[in-house]
């Protein structure tokens, strides 16, 4: 059979889709780095999210299992070890006495990205409390929040502005593998940091007043842990550098303070109070020698508590990290309200994926049987089925190219598209194989089928368009894949299918 231009177009698009999805990646081995703690030795050594680890100290790493096994073998003792990581971006060497402060995942089996409801993670839809934001304000909010979450070591995140039919603007946050409580903590505190002497503000969080926030080595750390009441408390401290303007403000404010007599004149009468979101975090006494001086270096301290020393240590570390983040990134411009918060367990997502594949196979078999019973021709039946799968495959490829995560709603959309596709093909086959005595030439009949198909195409597009905006775009995935599916159908697969059926009809 001579291939027509339309059939060639279909073949070309299919090859292109294959390249876009890259299913051969399933053969790749190694583990993908998802996040690297910015205050860790690994980060200092140059390790970054997105790299693929191929071996550790010469042991080849195939997947998460071999990674975990290798790491636990290396750190059997608490002694410090030299770690040599071979990645796709080169070799990294560092010393560590514990497993690397990174999170990892298996390398993806293709370029296809699955949504949160299939891979697990947390998602929040956020709006500003009491005010409605315009597009520009939400844009700013997204960039500041991104910075804050990145500073906190969360990099595998999706943040985007979304709007709905009534013109409300929201921020959507998705974090793979994260928990809802973590996300809630990060978002619900606005992170407004203020250092005050009495009622006067000396400096606030953000790079305008603070030029440097210490995070490693001598500049930051937990320095003591003690028993406290029925539990433990651990103290942290870190160094920050103030801008000259902020330092001058401090000098001006301290110039008029007298000495605190009860401390024996060692400190000034008023301390420096640190507030986070209007609640007092800590009070620092100001040394008498700092009176009226523009000091740029300041040591910030705080504490964490717990029932065990380990818990207190972890609490202090988390508290320090949070404070460092706030000081680095400044406060969020608005107090946020979480209006939708979902956590999806990765186990359930895996179960869903497995069952969806099972479903696809069953549908494939049943639809094939129905078509075969009707037409009794292997050629036509397989042509319809092949076209149906080509359509789904091309839709997935387009979604991949658009960097769209395929979620459950998206898969439902693909199935809706496949359903319309099969319907259209049945129309083409029935038109072209009509046995009526007064029938028109095959070209005319296929033309008439294409009229109906275009009609059906425009009605489904018309039906899907409002879903793009309704409900903050939460069902956009469904609308998008349906529209891609039927568009691929009308532009690529349907014309090719019509040509192939025309050939079959002529024969």
């Amino acid at each position: 059979m001579k291939l027509t231009l339309r059939v060639w177009l279909l073949i070309f698009v299919l090859i292109f889709s294959f390249l876009a999805i890259a299913p051969w990646k399933v053969l790749d081995s190694g583990v993908l780095i998802k996040t690297v703690n910015k205050t860790s030795a690994e980060y200092e050594a140059g390790l970054r999210p997105g790299m693929t680890i191929h071996s550790i100290n010469g042991n080849s790493i195939k997947n998460i299992v071999s990674y975990t096994q290798t790491i636990s073998e290396i750190f059997q003792t608490a002694a410090q070890q030299k770690i040599t990581l071979t990645t796709n971006k080169g070799e990294f060497i560092f010393l560590a006495d514990n497993s690397p402060d990174i999170t990892i995942s298996n390398v993806p089996a293709s370029r296809l990205k699955t949504g949160l409801d299939l891979s697990g993670g947390a998602r929040a839809l956020v709006k500003a409390e009491n005010i409605s934001l315009d597009k520009g304000q939400v844009g700013d909010l997204v960039s500041i929040t991104t910075e804050r979450l990145n500073a906190f070591g969360l990099s595998d995140i999706v943040l985007k502005p979304v709007s709905d039919l009534s013109g409300n603007n929201f921020m959507l946050i998705e974090i793979a593998g994260s928990t809802a409580s973590e996300l809630k903590d990060l978002l619900e505190s606005q992170g407004k940091f203020e250092a005050k002497i009495g009622n006067d503000t000396v400096f606030i969080g953000g790079d305008k007043d603070i030029t440097y926030v210490g995070s490693t080595g001598q500049d930051a750390g937990i320095y003591s842990c003690d028993e406290y009441q029925s539990g433990y408390t651990c103290q942290f401290r870190f160094v920050i550098y103030l801008s000259e303007k902020a330092a001058q403000r401090q000098a001006d404010l301290t110039a008029n303070l007298s000495l605190n007599i009860s401390s024996g004149g060692r400190y000034l009468e008023k301390p420096l109070d640190l507030y986070v979101d209007d609640s007092l975090l800590d009070t620092l006494q100001i040394g008498a020698d700092l009176k009226g001086k523009a000091t740029t270096q300041i040591q910030i301290s705080g504490s964490g508590i717990g029932t065990t020393q380990k818990e207190a240590f972890e609490d202090a570390t988390a508290g320090m990290k949070k404070l460092q983040t706030i000081l680095k990134t400044g406060s969020l411009p608005y107090k946020l309200e979480i209006i939708k918060l979902d956590t999806i367990s990765p186990t359930l997502g895996k179960e869903f994926t497995k069952n969806l594949v099972k479903l696809a196979l069953v549908v494939f078999v049943i639809v094939s049987i129905v078509l075969f019973i009707r037409y009794r021709k292997i050629k036509i039946t397989s042509l319809v089925i092949l076209t149906m799968f080509s359509e789904a495959f091309i839709t997935l490829a387009v979604a991949t190219l658009l960097n769209w995560n395929i979620d459950i709603a998206g898969i439902a959309g693909i199935i809706a598209g496949m359903g319309t596709g099969v319907n259209d093909q049945i129309m083409i086959v029935d038109e072209s194989l009509s046995k009526d005595a007064n029938r028109l030439p095959i070209k005319e009949r296929i033309k008439s089928a294409l009229f109906m198909i275009f009609g059906a195409f425009f009605t489904i597009i018309a039906a899907m368009i409002p879903l793009f905006w309704a409900g903050a775009g939460m069902l956009r995935g469904f609308a998008l894949t349906t529209i891609i599916g039927v568009s691929v159908g009308i532009l690529v697969t349907r014309p090719a299918f019509a040509d192939m059926v025309e050939r079959l009809g002529e024969n």
């Binding site: 367990s345 049943i366 639809v367 359903g419 319309t420 049945i426 009509s434 409002p466 879903l467 409900g471």
Partner: protein, 295 residues
């Protein structure tokens, strides 16, 4: 009497107007039922937590749900349960617990009954009441816009009033019948369910477009023959669509709830479409052809 094509055709010629009124009566009954539902509940459908606001927790694995359900209902009065079961083995895959309270409150209540909730064994979905309210309103607006856009397309396609209205009426009837059936069985509709209604608008008019184009745009054979030809193609189209949708409802278990709802709405809607296309729409088209003397 021998049933032949000719007999059927003659019978249809004599009785099609009566046949036409069967589905119209069904639609009328459904409309009355929905109005009654509205008067009783204050809404045209029962909404799930994604549209009414609240928390839904999915607990993976086999759990002795009977005791949990009893105990939880004493702590949280408006709690509701759904089970995901494996159809073949009857094994519980997951338990879905829903309530209008906050996630913390529901989690605490579940934990107080000795069930350890972790991020690994459970999924939580929370929708605030203000958002869900907006969500619902907007999806309804989307549904209306969809319908209007679809009607435009149909008018542009056929350029004549009666056949276009017949197609639009069939789509409307599909929605009304499906909604009445869902209400009757007390199914709580989610946002995915409303998306399925939108799909139904686009999906179910395929067969109506097929019927109207075959009857009005073609000249092969008689009107009855063309209707029957369209019926043969159309019923296969709806049949394959149902073949794609039903396994997800009946054979394969452990699919996401939102997915099942989309399939449920489509299955009911496509079944309703069989009568609305081949009894109502076909009758109107035949009547129209007779009055316009189209042969």
């Amino acid at each position: 009497m021998v049933i032949s094509k000719q007999n059927v055709s003659n019978w249809y010629d004599d009785h099609y107007k009566i046949v036409l009124f069967i589905p119209i009566t069904i639609v009328a009954i459904c409309l009355v039922y929905i109005v009654g539902f509205y008067i009783q509940t204050g809404d045209i459908m029962r909404k799930d937590v994604s549209l009414a606001g609240g928390t839904s927790i999915t607990l993976d694995g086999t759990i002795d749900s009977a005791i949990l359900e009893l105990k939880l209902a004493t702590i949280i009065p408006d709690v509701g349960f759904r089970k995901l079961t494996d159809v073949t083995t009857g094994r519980n895959l997951a338990l879905i617990i829903e309530s209008s309270v906050s996630p913390e409150e529901l989690k605490n209540a579940i934990s107080s009954l000795g069930i350890n909730l972790t991020e690994q064994n459970s999924s939580t979905e929370f929708t605030g009441p203000s958002l869900s309210n907006q969500f619902y309103k907007q999806l309804m607006v989307a549904l209306v816009i969809s319908f209007i856009l679809m009607s435009f397309v149909i008018f542009i396609l056929f350029k004549s009033f009666v056949p276009s209205v017949a197609v639009i009426f069939a789509a409307f009837s599909n929605i009304v019948i499906s909604l009445a059936i869902l209400n009757f069985f007390d199914v709580a509709i989610s946002s995915a369910g409303i998306a399925a209604f939108l799909t139904l608008i686009g999906y179910s008019v395929d067969t109506d477009i097929l019927l109207t184009s075959r009857v009005l745009k073609k000249k092969e054979g008689s009107v009855n023959k063309r209707i029957f030809g369209a019926f043969k193609t159309g019923i296969l189209m709806t049949g394959t669509a149902l073949a794609a949708v039903l396994p997800g409802l009946l054979l394969i278990s452990g699919l996401p709830v939102s997915f099942k709802q989309i399939f449920l709405v489509l299955a009911i809607g496509l079944s309703a479409d069989i009568i609305n296309t081949w009894m109502t729409n076909a009758g109107i088209i035949k009547w129209y052809c007779e009055s316009k003397n189209i042969k």
